[in-house]
C-alpha cells in the first residue's frame, strides 16, 4: 500500500513536472537566448488552454485542437514580440518585462470577459477517458500523451537551437544586435521566430493541462507560470535540456512535500530549494558556468 501510493505520487509529480517543463521551455526560449523574461507566457499558456478546451468542446478532435491552440498562442506571442519587445530592445531588460506584464493583464481580462471567471470544465470521452490500473497505481491515457508530447517537443526544440543556424543566429542577436546584423542575421525575424516557438510551446502546455486537469480558469497562468520560471532557473536558462531535468525534479519535490509534509509548506520548500541550488550553481543545474559569459578584462 505505502509503496503503490508512493509510486502513484511520483507519477503525479512527473505529470506536473512535464507541464512545468513545457512552460519553462517556453520561457527559456526568450529568456535564455534573448535575455528577457516574457511574463505574458503564463497568460499565453492560459489562452492556449481555453482555445484547446473550446475547440474540443465544439467537437474538434484532440489531434487538431492541439496544433490549433498552439498556432493561436504563437500568433499572440508574435504580436507581443512586435509591439511589446521590439521597440523596447534598447531599454533596460526590465522594461520589456514590464510591457509583457501589460500584455498579461490584457490577456487575462480578455479571457475573463470571454469565458468567465468561473472554472470551465471539460468532460473527456472515448479513448481519452481511459485509465490503466496496475494494482493501486493508475495511469491515464492523457498522462501518457502529456509525457510523450513534452518529450517530443523538448527534443525538437533542442535540436533546433543547438544544431541549426537559427540557434546560432538567435544567440548572436541576443549578444549584440549590430554585430549580428553586419554578419547577415535579421534580428527582427529571429526574434519573431523565438517568440513564435515559445508561444507554440506555451500553447501546447495549455492544451495538455486542460486535458489532464479538465478544469481551467483565467487565473491558472500566474502560479504555474512562476513555478515554471523557477524550473527554468533551476535547470539553467541557457540550456534547453535544463528544463527537462528540473521540471520533473520540482514536480516530484512538490508532490512529495504535499504528500508527506503538507501543502502549506510546499512553496516554502520549492523556492527554498531553488535558492539553495542557485547558491551552489549560480547558472542553474545545466546552465553553462559563468566562464562562458565571455567577460574578461
Amino acid at each position: 500500500m505505502g509503496v503503490s501510493i508512493f509510486i502513484q505520487q511520483v507519477l503525479n509529480g512527473l505529470t506536473l513536472g512535464a507541464v512545468y517543463t513545457l512552460i519553462a521551455l517556453a520561457f527559456s526560449l526568450v529568456m535564455g537566448i534573448l535575455g528577457i523574461l516574457n511574463l505574458a507566457i503564463s497568460e499565453i499558456f492560459m489562452i492556449g488552454a481555453f482555445i484547446g478546451f473550446s475547440l474540443i468542446m465544439s467537437g474538434v478532435p484532440v489531434w487538431l485542437a492541439l496544433p490549433g491552440a498552439m498556432a493561436v498562442a504563437a500568433v499572440i506571442s508574435m504580436v507581443i514580440a512586435r509591439i511589446g519587445y521590439e521597440p523596447l530592445r534598447n531599454a533596460s531588460h526590465i522594461t520589456p518585462m514590464l510591457s509583457t506584464l501589460g500584455f498579461s493583464m490584457i490577456l487575462q481580462n480578455f479571457a475573463t470577459n470571454t469565458w468567465g471567471s468561473d472554472p470551465m470544465q471539460l468532460t473527456l470521452e472515448g479513448w481519452l477517458d481511459t485509465r490503466f490500473h496496475f494494482g493501486l497505481v493508475s495511469l491515464s491515457v492523457v498522462q501518457i500523451v502529456v509525457f510523450a508530447v513534452t518529450l517530443g517537443l523538448c527534443v525538437l526544440t533542442a535540436l533546433l537551437i543547438q544544431r541549426t543556424d537559427i540557434g546560432r543566429g538567435l544567440r548572436a542577436v541576443a549578444e549584440n544586435r549590430d554585430v549580428s546584423r553586419i554578419l547577415g542575421v535579421r534580428p527582427r525575424r529571429m526574434i519573431l521566430v523565438a517568440f513564435a516557438l515559445s508561444g507554440l510551446l506555451a500553447g501546447a502546455a495549455g492544451v495538455l493541462v486542460g486535458l489532464h486537469y479538465s478544469v481551467i480558469t483565467p487565473y491558472i497562468g500566474v502560479d504555474i507560470g512562476l513555478k515554471a520560471i523557477a524550473v527554468m532557473i533551476v535547470g539553467g536558462a541557457t540550456n534547453i535540456w535544463g528544463a527537462l531535468l528540473a521540471g520533473p525534479i520540482i514536480g516530484i519535490l512538490e508532490v512529495l512535500t504535499v504528500a508527506y509534509g503538507g501543502a502549506a509548506m510546499r512553496d516554502f520548500i520549492v523556492y527554498g530549494m531553488m535558492i539553495a541550488i542557485l547558491l551552489v550553481r549560480p547558472q542553474g543545474l545545466l546552465g553553462g558556468s559563468s566562464k562562458t559569459s565571455g567577460g574578461r578584462v
Binding site: 546560432r168 549578444e175 554585430v179 546584423r181 553586419i182 554578419l183 547577415g184 542575421v185 574578461r296
Partner: protein
Amino acid sequence: MILSVHDLKVNYGAIPGIRKIDFDVNEGEIVALIGANGAGKSTTMRAITGLLPFQGRVVYRGRDLAPMHAERNLANGLALVPEGRGILTRMTVEENLRMGGYLRRDKAQLETEIVATYERFAILGERRSGIAGFLSGGEQQILAIARALLARPKLLLLDEPSLGLAPMMTAQIFDFISEFRKQGLTVLLAEQKSKHSLAIADRAFLFSMGEVVASGAARDLAEGSLIRNTMMALV
C-alpha cells in the same frame, strides 16, 4: 566605381556625427580614410554599412543603398570590421567564424576556408573551441578580420584594423588582405595612424570635423605636408 558617397550626413540626436562627406572607391582599390579623433571616420563606415540612419546618397555597385539595411548589404557583398572588433564574446572562436559565413550557401566550401584560416592564424586554430571573449585584444582583432573575410565580401570596410595588433601581425593581416584583393576584393580603410595606412593604400581622403578636407593619391598625401598642415590648422 564600386562605391560612391554623396553629401553623407549623420546626426546622433542633437550631436552632429558627420556633416558632409563625399568620396568614392574604385573596384580593386585600397582607399584610406584618415583624420583625427572624432573626425567621423567610424560614423561614415557605420552609415555605409547600414547600421545608422543617414541623409545623402550612398551608391554601391550602381544602386542606392537605403539606410539601416546591414543584413541586405552584406548579402550584396559589403562587410564591416567594426571599431572595437564586434566579436561575439559568448560564442566560441569556431562559432564566430561560422557566423562569418552565415549567409553563405556553400557550407562545405566554408568549412574548408575555416580550416585554411586556422592554418594561417595559428592562434585561432589553437583556440578554436575556446570562448572568443577570453582571447587577448589582438587575437580578437584577428578573429574579427578573419570572420569578415569568410563572408566573401566584394567591399570590405576596416575600421582601425591595426588597433592592438603587434607590428608583425599587422603585416601578416595586410598580406592576407592583398591575397583576397587578387580575387577581386576592394578595401576601404579607416586609420588614425596615417603613416601606416598610406603605405598600403592607393588613394586617401582626409577627414576633419565631419567633412572631407583633402584627398589624393596616397603616396602624395604621405609625402606632402598637407595632412600635417590641415590638422594643425583645425586642431
